[in-house]
């Protein structure tokens, strides 16, 4: 279990000014499920993960792993396994040697090195220098390192970055399996679509604040609603008709948004009352849209508007 309380990180940006990367957040990551940590780039995901691992010191607030501060553990790798980024490896050292020094540092038997190499499917290339690995192999090595101490808590920062579809599927299955074994699994991503397939619980962060902390199914029903868009010349009549049936109708500009009836039924109803429709569309807002809407205000770096001629 990971528990953060009023966790805050400010960075100095020079000239005596500071930037808040993580702004007094509270959260609990429970065991036995996959918790997705979702947010746009620069939202504070990696900073939070580094604070969990004691790599960055919080400006204020606390974060604990299995009830105590990470640095206090006698064998940290047995408490929490982490994939921070695939490049946290010396390119001149082989995968096996990398895992061997990590094992030695925490008193983990060397036999475990072979086990985790097999677990991630790298046995055949374990003697090669890590610098020759593809991004996907690097990610696998990072995951092997995370699993070295057979830890009850696993933290993976953007684990599917740079993976091919087969690799992505492997990570997904792997995360599921870890959670089913009762471990705490905390995975960050900036891709909602990926989280939708992987996570049971969702922690959405934007500009250093928690925007949502709920189960994936709650998030879906709250944010990914669908509605039927209706446009008609006599819009007020249609609105009266539909709301008279007890449907949830909202008028937005020159259109109606109808929830609770499918498009075909709305069309039939209008036809039977002699009302002409100009548009009848089922609009399904995806989780991606929901996520975008939720974090729109908190995106750190917006792309320049292409229509303004940046590409001319």
């Amino acid at each position: 279990m990971i528990r953060a309380h009023a966790l805050t990180k400010r960075f100095a940006t020079g000239k005596g000014q500071t930037r808040v990367a993580v702004d007094g957040i509270d959260f609990v990551v429970e065991p036995g499920r996959v918790t997705g940590f979702l947010g746009p780039n620069g939202a504070g995901k990696s900073t939070t993960m580094r604070m969990i691992l004691g790599l960055d010191a919080p400006t204020s607030g606390t974060v604990s792993v299995n009830g105590h501060r990470y640095a206090a553990a006698p064998a940290p790798l047995r408490e929490i396994g982490a994939l921070l980024d695939a490049h946290a490896i010396h390119p001149g050292r082989s995968a096996r040697d990398h895992l061997r020094w990590m094992a030695a540092s925490n008193g983990i038997p060397t036999t475990r090195v072979g086990e985790v190499l097999e677990l991630v499917g790298l046995e055949s290339v374990a003697g090669q220098r890590a610098g020759r690995y593809s991004l996907g192999m690097g990610q696998r090595l990072g995951i092997a390192a995370a699993m070295l101490g057979d830890p009850p808590v696993v933290v993976l920062d953007e684990p599917v970055n740079g993976l091919d579809p087969e690799g992505i599927r492997w990570v997904r299955t792997f995360a599921r399996q870890l959670a089913d074994e009762g471990r705490t699994v905390f995975i960050s991503s900036h891709l909602m679509s990926e989280m939708a397939l992987m996570a049971d619980h969702l922690l959405v962060i934007g500009r250093g604040s928690i925007l949502a902390d709920c189960s994936m199914s709650d998030f879906m029903s709250d944010h990914a609603a669908s509605y039927v868009r209706v446009k008609a010349p006599a819009l007020a009549d249609v609105e009266n008709l539909l709301s008279g049936r007890g449907l949830d109708v909202t008028r937005v500009d020159d259109e109606l948004r109808v929830v609770g009836l499918d498009a075909a039924a709305v069309g039939e109803l209008a036809f039977r009352h002699g009302l002409m429709l100009h548009e009848l569309t089922l609009v399904r807002s995806s989780l991606e849209d929901a996520f975008m809407a939720l974090t729109a205000d908190s995106v750190e770096y917006h792309a320049a508007d292409a229509s303004r001629g940046a590409l001319r």
Binding site: D56, L84, I89, H90, G92, R93, A104, G107
Partner: protein
């Protein structure tokens, strides 16, 4: 060096509940040190340059040193190669630390061993041991080869007194300069920066201070780390005005200790 030892000592005391013990960290750092090729290249370079150049210089200068117009002592030549070999010690000291920062490995290291002082202490202890052994062996090989040519001209030196001291003195100086670089490496976290700063300090600045006039200038020359520390590695220094071998080395050790203490403080406070 003093700082490292004390640090290692105090850290061992609290090891029961605060992170992996020093023995485990030492084993891990030893694995790291010997599983990259750069370690071996640098050590081979130390030996080839340190011993090879000594032999070469002794061979080339033996008859001049034996002649009446020689104004240098053969004792200045019998460890000559160590002046160049110190560069490889600087390179190794830097690589041991800064490649971890360059590659992001440092995050793996501190995630595995959150007590960062233990990582600093283990790296320092291993580097000092390796450089002392390799430095002493290199000096002995250079002496054996170089003294052969000096002997032929009748100016050979027995392996005793100042000559003997310069053998393990070479080991001590390389160990010291490696440790000095480790401290700079943790402060700067950048390979090229670390190597440039240390070499500039040892080789360039150490000579440039000769231009500073008066007693202040004389003392500055004596106290520069490279000048103070290197006297122990040669039976007869080229510059007769420097501090004595052990006094000089004590000054150099103190300077290194201060730098290490600074590195330790910064390391604990800074985000990895």
């Amino acid at each position: 060096m003093t700082a490292t030892m004390t640090e290692g000592g105090t850290l061992l005391v609290g090891s029961a509940e605060r992170g992996p013990g020093f023995g485990a960290v030492l084993r891990a750092e030893w694995l790291k040190l010997r599983t990259v090729r750069s370690t071996w290249w640098t050590l081979v370079a130390t030996f080839v340059l340190g011993a090879g150049l000594t032999v070469l210089l002794c061979w080339a200068n033996a008859d001049w040193l034996a002649s009446a117009d020689a104004d240098e002592s053969p004792g200045s030549f019998v460890t000559w190669g160590m002046m160049i070999a110190q560069i490889t010690a600087v390179v190794l000291g830097a690589l041991v630390v800064t490649t971890e920062y360059g590659t992001g490995m440092i995050r793996s290291s501190f995630a595995a061993v959150p007590a960062r002082g233990r990582v600093l202490a283990a790296k320092s202890l291993l580097l000092v041991t390796v450089l002392f052994v390799v430095g002493t062996v290199t000096a002995l090989a250079g002496y054996a080869g170089g003294n052969y040519f000096l002997d032929r001209e009748g100016i050979g030196m027995a392996l005793e007194g100042g000559v003997l001291r310069s053998m393990y003195g070479s080991g001590l100086y390389l160990a010291g300069i490696g440790l000095f670089t480790v401290a700079v490496g943790f402060l700067l976290r950048h390979t090229a920066g670390t190597i440039s700063v240390v070499l500039a300090l040892m080789l360039i600045l150490g000579n440039m201070v000769n231009l500073v006039p008066g007693a202040f200038g004389d003392w500055l020359v004596k106290l520069m780390p490279g000048n103070a520390g290197s006297v122990i590695s040669t039976p007869v220094p080229f510059n007769p005005d420097l501090l004595g071998p052990w006094t000089g080395f004590a000054v150099f050790a103190a300077e290194t200790a201060v730098l290490l203490a600074a590195a330790y403080v910064v390391l604990r406070r800074r985000d990895a």
